[in-house]
Symmetry: C2
Subunit: 116 residues, 2 copies
């Protein structure tokens, strides 16, 4: 069972916001939250990670599994995973030494909605 | 008639890319292009501009019309509009002294597709 107990401000804020970008006046606070979310996606390595996670048979990865396909150091990968987790794009589960990450489809759905 | 004659690298690249983030392995080049697009959206003022443009009765604005609602200087607004134009998110038309901008819905549609 995956849990995402740590309540991250950004993640929660996005869940509670926003109307579509093109369907009403975007409030100041919502614009700040959404811009932060888009900045999280503004790193090629993070987009590749999301793509790689989605391509796994069980749709989860630990940082160790991304080192080879991405050609990045494990600390770098762990940092990107942490940023995406804090933005609510990933959920995580510790198993022994490793933390496994999964995509939170609802969060991507929210961003899609905002762009509509 | 709106035209967007200047062929911008980023804009064209996005038009020719990408499969959904979650439906296949994202190529390196596509990840770079998409991350750049998301970074363009990673500024609250730009999101508010898109929202304000969409809310206009004729769905277009010139920089002059954004100064008051956004409380930013005209050079700052013109800069943001230029960045979004170069990313293919806006098209523009010169009329006398002013340049008028409109949203390119196709480009937002592409980003929505990528997040699916």
């Amino acid at each position: 069972m995956y849990v995402n107990i740590e309540v991250m401000k950004l993640s929660n804020a996005v869940t509670s916001c926003c109307s579509g970008l093109l369907t009403g006046h975007l409030k100041n606070d919502d614009a700040i939250i959404l811009a932060a979310m888009f900045r999280v996606l503004g790193e090629p390595a993070r987009l590749q990670m999301l793509s790689l996670i989605a391509a796994q048979p069980n749709q989860e990865v630990c940082a160790c599994e991304l080192v080879e396909p991405l050609g990045l150091s494990q600390p770098t990968i762990s940092h990107h995973l942490k940023v995406m987790y804090e933005a609510g794009l990933l959920e995580k589960e510790r198993r022994g030494t490793w933390i496994y990450y999964r995509i939170v489809p609802k969060q991507l759905e929210l961003l899609r909605k905002v762009l509509s």
